[in-house]
C-alpha cells in the first residue's frame, strides 16, 4: 500500500532464498572485509619491519662508504710516498673501481627505499661524494704525473680530511635517519598492533551483531507471514472460507498465501457442490419407494429415510441404534436377529423377509436386503440396507398356492376317475402276470410231480413265478401311486422311464382297441426336476386322448386302418426336452387347436373335458409349454417341453 510512495525496493519482493543468500553474502563480505583490514594492518607492521631492515642495510652501506673514504686518505698518502707514478696510477684506478662499486651498491639500495632517500637526500650527497672523491683522485693522479708529490701529500693531508668529515656526516645523517625510521617504525608498529587489537574484536563483534540483526530480520520477515498463513489455515480448517490472506511481495510465502486463497475459494465451491448434491441425494433417498437405511459395522442404525419414519410413524430417535427391534413382528424377531448377527459376524450380505409394524399397528411383509461397505483393507465400514414392502406379493403367492392345491386335487380326482374308466384294462394288465404265474406254478408242480422231479425246471418255473409276481406287484404299486393324493413332490425324474411305465399300464387298453404304441425315445436324456405322478398323469391323458381319437376315426370312417400311436422324447436345444405324442386319429380342426385345452371342452360324447386342461396346467406349473398341432396326413400331435435344470445335465 505504501509502496507507491516509498522507495521501489521492498525486501518482500525478494524470495526468501534470495534474502538468505543476500544475508550470507553480506556476512561473508563483512568477515572478509574484517580479515582484509586485519591482514592489511599485519602487512603494515611487516612493511615497517622491512623498512627498518632496509634502513639498517643502507646505514651499513653508508658506513662502509665512509670507511672506504677514510682508508682512501691513507692509501693515497702511502702510495704518494713511493713517488712511483705507474704504481700510483694503477692504484688509483683500483681505488676508483672499488669505490664506485661501493657507491653504486649503496645507491642501488637507496633507489629501492624512496622514502629514506627523500628524507635524507643521500643520493645527492653520495653523488657529490663520488664526484668529489673521483675528482680528488684525478687531481692527485695529475699532480703525481706532473711530479708534484708534495702537492699530492698536501692534498691528502688537507683536502681529504674534509672529505672524510663529510662522509662521516653522511653516516651521521643516515644513522639519524635510521634511528628516526626505527623509532617511527616501532611507534607505527605499536600503533598498528593496537589498531589490530581493536579492529579484530570490533570487526568480529560487528560481524556477529550484523549476522544476528540480519538473522533476526530475515526470521521475522519469514515468521510474520508464516503466522498469518498458519492462522488462515486454522480458520480454513474450521470451515471459514471468507477471509483472505493479504501478503505483499513476490516471495514464496506470498505465493503460498495466494495458493491458500485460491484453495479456500476452490474448497468453498466444492463444499457448495457437495452440499447441493447431498441435498439431491437426500431428496432421492427420501422419495424413493423403499425404506433406506444405513448401519454402523456393529449393526446399530445410523440413518433411516423419511419414508421409513413415515411408515413406522415414530421419531428417528426411536428407530436409530437398536431401537428398531420394537417395530419388528414378535414372531420374526428371534429369526431376524440371528440372521442379522450372523451377517454382521461373517460380513455377508443379508436377505430376509420380515414383518414390520406400520403406524396403524398392522404388520406388513418386507423384503430386507443389507450389504456391507468395505474399505481398502477389507474391513466393513458401514452397512447399507433397503426394505421393500412385499405384502401384496406375499398375498398373491398364497393365492397361487391354494390354486395349485385345487389343481392337484382336481388332477387326483381326474386321475382316479380315469383309473376307474380304465379298470378293466388295468385289471387285465394285472391279470396277465398273475395268469402267467398261475401257469408257471402249475408247470412247477408238474415238474415236481414227476417221479424224478426236475428240480432244475421247477426252479426255473419258480423264478418265472417270482418275476410275474413282482411285475404284478409293480403294476399295483404304480396304480396305487396314481391314486395317491398328496402334496407335489418334485424329484429327479427319468422321462423315458416314466413314459415306459405308463405305456406298460396302458398296453392292454391299446391292444383292446387294436392300436399299437411305438416309442422313439432319445437315449441318455438328462433328468428333469418334476412331480413324477403328475408327469405320468400327463402322459396317460395324452395317450388315452390319442386312443380315443383313433377310435373315433374308426367309428366315423368306413375302412379300418391300423391305429398307431407314437411317443417321442428328444432334447430340444440346450435347456429343454421335447416330448411328442402323435396319433393317427380323427385329427383336430385348426380352429380348435387351442380350444381343446379349455376346461370342460370336449368332442367326445362321454368325455369330461378336463384331461387336456389339467395336463396343460401341470406342464405349465413345471415351467413347460403344451400345445397341439394337426398332422399333415392324419391325426394330431401333442407336444410339450420341460426345462432342464442346469444341474441335471450331468446326471444322465
Amino acid at each position: 500500500m505504501r509502496g507507491t510512495i516509498r522507495s521501489p525496493f521492498r525486501p518482500s519482493d525478494l524470495s526468501i532464498r534470495s534474502r538468505l543468500i543476500a544475508c550470507f553474502v553480506l556476512i561473508v563480505l563483512l568477515m572478509i572485509a574484517a580479515d582484509a583490514v586485519a591482514i592489511w594492518q599485519y602487512w603494515q607492521i611487516e612493511a615497517l619491519a622491512q623498512r627498518v631492515r632496509k634502513t639498517d642495510q643502507i646505514s651499513d652501506a653508508v658506513v662502509r662508504v665512509h670507511l672506504y673514504v677514510y682508508s682512501f686518505r691513507d692509501k693515497i698518502a702511502a702510495v704518494a710516498s713511493t713517488h712511483d707514478i705507474p704504481q700510483f696510477s694503477s692504484e688509483a684506478a683500483e681505488i676508483r673501481r672499488s669505490f664506485l662499486e661501493q657507491v653504486d651498491h649503496t645507491e642501488q639500495m637507496l633507489r629501492t627505499t624512496p622514502d629514506i632517500e627523500q628524507n635524507a637526500h643521500l643520493s645527492y650527497a653520495l653523488d657529490s661524494l663520488r664526484v668529489t672523491l673521483l675528482s680528488q683522485l684525478d687531481t692527485a693522479v695529475q699532480l703525481a704525473t706532473a711530479g708534484e708529490w708534495n702537492a699530492v701529500q698536501l692534498r691528502a693531508a688537507i683536502e681529504i680530511p674534509a672529505l672524510i668529515e663529510f662522509s662521516s656526516s653522511l653516516v651521521d645523517r643516515v644513522d639519524q635517519q635510521a634511528r628516526e625510521k626505527r623509532n617511527e617504525a616501532s611507534e607505527d608498529a605499536q600503533k598498528a598492533r593496537q589498531r589490530l587489537f581493536i579492529i579484530v574484536p570490533v570487526a568480529a563483534l560487528l560481524t556477529l551483531l550484523t549476522a544476528a540483526a540480519l538473522g533476526w530480520y530475515v526470521t521475522r520477515t519469514v515468521t510474520g507471514p508464516l503466522s498469518i498463513l498458519t492462522a488462515r489455515a486454522e480458520t480454513l480448517a474450521h470451515g471459514d472460507f471468507q477471509h483472505k490472506v493479504q501478503l505483499r511481495g513476490n516471495n514464496e510465502l506470498a505465493v503460498l498465501g495466494n495458493a491458500l486463497n485460491y484453495a479456500s475459494e476452490q474448497l468453498q465451491k466444492l463444499y457448495e457442490d457437495v452440499r447441493r448434491s447431498e441435498e439431491n441425494l437426500r431428496g432421492v433417498i427420501n422419495t424413493v419407494p423403499a425404506h433406506v437405511w444405513s448401519a454402523s459395522p456393529d449393526g446399530a442404525l445410523e440413518f433411516v429415510n423419511e419414508r421409513l419414519l413415515k411408515f413406522v410413524g415414530l421419531p428417528s430417535d426411536d428407530i436409530l441404534g437398536w431401537n428398531w427391534e420394537s417395530v419388528l413382528h414378535p414372531d420374526d424377531r428371534a429369526r431376524f436377529f440371528a440372521r442379522w448377527r450372523a451377517a454382521l459376524k461373517d460380513g455377508r450380505s443379508l436377505e430376509s423377509e420380515i414383518r414390520l409394524r406400520r403406524a396403524d399397528g398392522q404388520h406388513r411383509w418386507f423384503f430386507v436386503r443389507s450389504v456391507p461397505v468395505r474399505d481398502e483393507a477389507g474391513n466393513i465400514t458401514k452397512w447399507y440396507g433397503s426394505s421393500i414392502e412385499i405384502e401384496d406379493l406375499k398375498r398373491a403367492e398364497e393365492g397361487r398356492e391354494r390354486l395349485r392345491q385345487v389343481q392337484s386335487e382336481l388332477a387326483h380326482i381326474h386321475r382316479v376317475t380315469t383309473m376307474g374308466e380304465l379298470a378293466a384294462s388295468i385289471a387285465h394288465e394285472i391279470r396277465q402276470p398273475i395268469s402267467a404265474a398261475d401257469i408257471n406254478a402249475k408247470t412247477c408242480l408238474r415238474w415236481l410231480g414227476r417221479e424224478q422231479p426236475d428240480i432244475e425246471q421247477a426252479r426255473e418255473a419258480v423264478s418265472r413265478i417270482i418275476k410275474n409276481v413282482i411285475r404284478a406287484s409293480d403294476i399295483i404299486t404304480r396304480i396305487r401311486l396314481l391314486f395317491k393324493k398328496g402334496e407335489q413332490q418334485r424329484e429327479w425324474v427319468n422321462v423315458n422311464d416314466a413314459i415306459g411305465e405308463i405305456i406298460s399300464l396302458l398296453r392292454s387298453e391299446a391292444v383292446r382297441h387294436a392300436i399299437s404304441i411305438h416309442t422313439v425315445l432319445a437315449p441318455e436324456l438328462p433328468l428333469v426336476m418334476a412331480d413324477r405322478v403328475q408327469l405320468q398323469q400327463v402322459f396317460m391323458n395324452l395317450i388315452l386322448n390319442g386312443i380315443d381319437a383313433i377310435n373315433e376315426a374308426d367309428i366315423a370312417g368306413n375302412e379300418r386302418i391300423a391305429g398307431n400311436l407314437t411317443v417321442k422324447s428328444q432334447r430340444n436345444g440346450a435347456d429343454q426336452l421335447l416330448i411328442s405324442i402323435s396319433d393317427t386319429g380323427i385329427g383336430l380342426p385348426p380352429e380348435q387347436a387351442d380350444k381343446v385345452f379349455d376346461a370342460f371342452f370336449t368332442t367326445k360324447p362321454h368325455g369330461t373335458g378336463m384331461g387336456l386342461s389339467i395336463s396343460r396346467s401341470i406342464i405349465e406349473s413345471h415351467g413347460g409349454r403344451l400345445w397341439a398341432t394337426g398332422n399333415p396326413d392324419r391325426g394330431t400331435t401333442f407336444q410339450f417341453t420341460l426345462p432342464i435344470e442346469p444341474a441335471a445335465t450331468a446326471v444322465a
Partner: protein, 484 residues
C-alpha cells in the same frame, strides 16, 4: 484505511530516508498509530542502522589509510652549497640552525662537489630535470646566466631595500633579463698573497706592482731560499690546472695587459689579440722557472696548500684564502700579507668571484625558500659572520664597521680592488654557453702553458672555435627566451 490516512499526513517524511538518526527522530516526532506502522518504522531504522555500521567499518579502514600518508607538519627545505670546502662550513650549519629556530622551517644541508665545474654539472642536472629538491642553490657569480631559466625571480619575495643594500655590481651580475635570480651572499676576488717576511729578508719593502717586478722578486727569493737548503722552494704558485680557476688566472693576466674578457658585453669574440698573446706567453715563461712545472696540475687548494706550507713566496688566490692563511696553526700566520695583483700595461685587475643564493623554480615551497635566501644574505647574518675572520660581505655598509674591520683588516684592500679593477668573466654574455667558452679558453691557455701550442696559434684557434656558427647560434638561442 488507517495507514492510508497516516500516509496523507506524512508525505514528506515518508519520502526521505537519510541517516539513522533521522529515522529515530521520525519515530519520536510522530508516534506510530498502528502496530504495523510501528513495525514499519523500526524496520526503516534497522535498515539505516545497518548502513551506519557499514559506514563505520569503512571509516575505520579509511582513517587508518589516511594516517599512513599524512604529510609532516613542518616544511623541510633543502639547501645545496659548496659545502665542506667553503671556509666556514660549521658557521654555515650554525646559521641554518638559527634560521630553523626563528622560523620553524627545517633545512637539510646538502654539500655540493668541490670544483665549480662539477658543482655546475650537478646543479644543471637537478634543475633541468625539474627536481623538487633542493629548494635553494648556492649560485656562483658566473652561474646566473646559465641557471636563470630554472630559478625564481627573488624580487617577488624580497623587499627592494634589502636588495639595494648589496653592491649594485653584484645585483646587476645576478640579474638576468630583469629577473634577480640570486641574492649575493659573499664576495671574492683575485689577490696576490706574499710572504712579507721573505720580502723583507731579501730587501723588498713593498709587494710587486707589476708582473715584471713579481718575476724579478720571485726569482731572487726562489734562488735565495733554495741556496739556503729549501730545495723545492718556488717563487710564485697559482692555479694552472685545466679548470675554471685557470680561466680566472689567465683572465687577470690578459685583462691587465688590455687583452679583453674573451667576449665583450655583446658576445663578440675579442680573445685573439697581441695583448692576450703577450700575457699567455709571459705565464708560460713562469712554468718551470719561478713556478713549479706541476703548476699546470694545480687547482686552487694545491697552490694554496703549497704556499701555506712555506714552499713558495707568492700566491695568486681568492680573497677568501686569507682566512685559512691567518688561521691558527697555519705556517704563514703573521708572516704574510696581501696585495692587489700586479699591473700589466693596462693596469691592475682582479677576477670577481663569490656566490649568492637562488631558489629553484621547481621548489614546492618557494616562499619559505626565498625566506631562507633572504636570511642567509641578510645584513645581520653577514654581520654575525664577521665577528670572526670571514669572507667579504656583499653589503658595502659593513665595510665601514670598525668592529668588523678589526676582525678582517684586509677587507679595505679587497674593497679597494673591487672598486678599482674588477674583471668579470664573460658569463653574462655567453649565458649557457659560458662553460663551453670557459673550457675552450682554459684549454687554449693550458696548451700554451704546457708548450703544446704557441700563444698565437692557440689564440687563433680559440677565436675560430668561439666563432663557429654552432657556438654563436646556441649563444643566440640561449638569449632568445630571456628577451621575451
Amino acid at each position: 484505511v488507517a495507514v492510508a490516512k497516516f500516509r496523507l499526513q506524512l508525505p514528506d517524511i515518508e519520502r526521505y530516508s537519510g541517516s539513522p538518526m533521522q529515522g529515530v527522530g521520525e519515530l519520536m516526532a510522530y508516534p506510530p498509530r498502528t502496530r504495523e506502522e510501528a513495525r514499519r518504522r523500526i524496520r526503516q531504522s534497522t535498515r539505516r542502522a545497518v548502513l551506519g555500521i557499514l559506514c563505520f567499518l569503512l571509516t575505520i579502514g579509511g582513517e587508518s589509510c589516511s594516517r599512513g600518508n599524512q604529510p609532516t607538519d613542518a616544511i623541510t627545505l633543502t639547501l645545496i652549497d659548496q659545502g665542506w670546502f667553503s671556509s666556514d662550513y660549521q658557521g654555515r650549519l650554525n646559521e641554518i640552525a638559527e634560521f630553523t629556530r626563528e622560523t620553524g622551517i627545517r633545512v637539510e644541508f646538502l654539500p655540493g662537489p668541490e670544483t665549480a665545474v662539477e658543482q655546475l654539472a650537478t646543479y644543471r642536472k637537478l634543475l633541468e630535470s625539474g627536481a623538487k629538491v633542493p629548494d635553494v642553490y648556492g649560485i656562483d657569480v658566473i652561474w646566473p646566466g646559465i641557471l636563470a631559466d630554472n630559478l625564481l625571480d627573488l624580487r617577488a619575495y624580497i623587499p627592494e631595500q634589502e636588495i639595494k643594500a648589496h653592491f649594485p655590481e653584484l645585483i646587476a651580475n645576478n640579474t638576468v633579463n630583469g629577473r634577480l635570480v640570486a641574492l649575493p651572499s659573499f664576495l671574492s676576488e683575485g689577490l696576490l698573497f706574499y710572504r712579507a717576511d721573505l720580502l723583507r729578508k731579501y730587501g723588498y719593502r713593498a709587494p710587486p706592482m707589476t708582473w715584471k717586478e713579481l718575476e724579478v722578486m720571485a726569482r731572487r727569493i726562489q734562488s735565495g731560499e733554495r741556496a739556503n737548503g729549501n730545495k723545492d722552494f718556488w717563487g710564485f704558485v697559482w692555479e694552472g690546472a685545466p679548470s675554471e680557476a685557470l680561466t680566472c688566472n689567465a683572465l687577470e693576466w690578459q685583462v691587465s695587459e688590455g687583452g679583453g674578457t674573451i667576449l665583450d658585453e655583446n658576445g663578440k669574440v675579442t680573445v685573439n689579440n697581441p695583448q692576450s698573446i703577450r700575457a699567455w706567453d709571459r705565464a708560460a715563461r713562469w712554468v718551470g722557472s719561478i713556478s713549479p712545472p706541476g703548476v699546470v696540475a694545480f687547482k686552487e687548494s694545491d697552490a694554496a696548500n703549497m704556499w701555506r706550507a712555506g714552499k713558495a713566496a707568492f700566491l695568486r688566490d681568492w680573497s677568501s684564502g686569507y682566512i685559512a692563511a691567518r688561521a691558527p696553526g697555519s705556517m704563514v700566520r703573521g708572516r704574510f700579507d696581501i696585495a692587489p695583483l700586479p699591473r700589466g700595461s693596462a693596469g691592475m685587475t682582479a677576477t670577481l668571484g663569490g656566490a649568492g643564493y637562488g631558489v629553484s623554480a621547481h621548489s614546492l615551497h618557494p616562499r619559505e625558500a626565498a625566506m631562507l635566501v633572504r636570511f642567509l644574505c641578510s645584513r645581520n647574518v653577514q654581520l654575525t659572520r664577521l665577528r670572526k675572520p670571514n669572507e667579504a660581505p656583499t653589503i658595502p655598509e659593513l665595510y665601514e664597521d670598525p668592529e668588523v674591520l678589526a676582525h678582517n683588516p684586509h677587507w679595505l684592500r679587497v674593497l679597494e680592488i673591487f672598486h678599482k679593477g674588477i674583471a668579470l668573466r664573460p658569463s653574462r654574455a655567453a649565458r649557457k654557453m659560458y662553460p663551453d667558452v670557459s673550457r675552450a679558453y682554459w684549454e687554449a691557455v693550458y696548451a700554451v702553458l704546457t708548450r703544446k701550442k704557441s700563444a698565437a696559434q692557440a689564440a687563433d684557434e680559440l677565436e675560430r672555435m668561439l666563432r663557429t656558427p654552432d657556438v654563436r647560434a646556441s649563444a643566440d638561442l640561449n638569449k632568445a627566451p630571456a628577451q621575451r
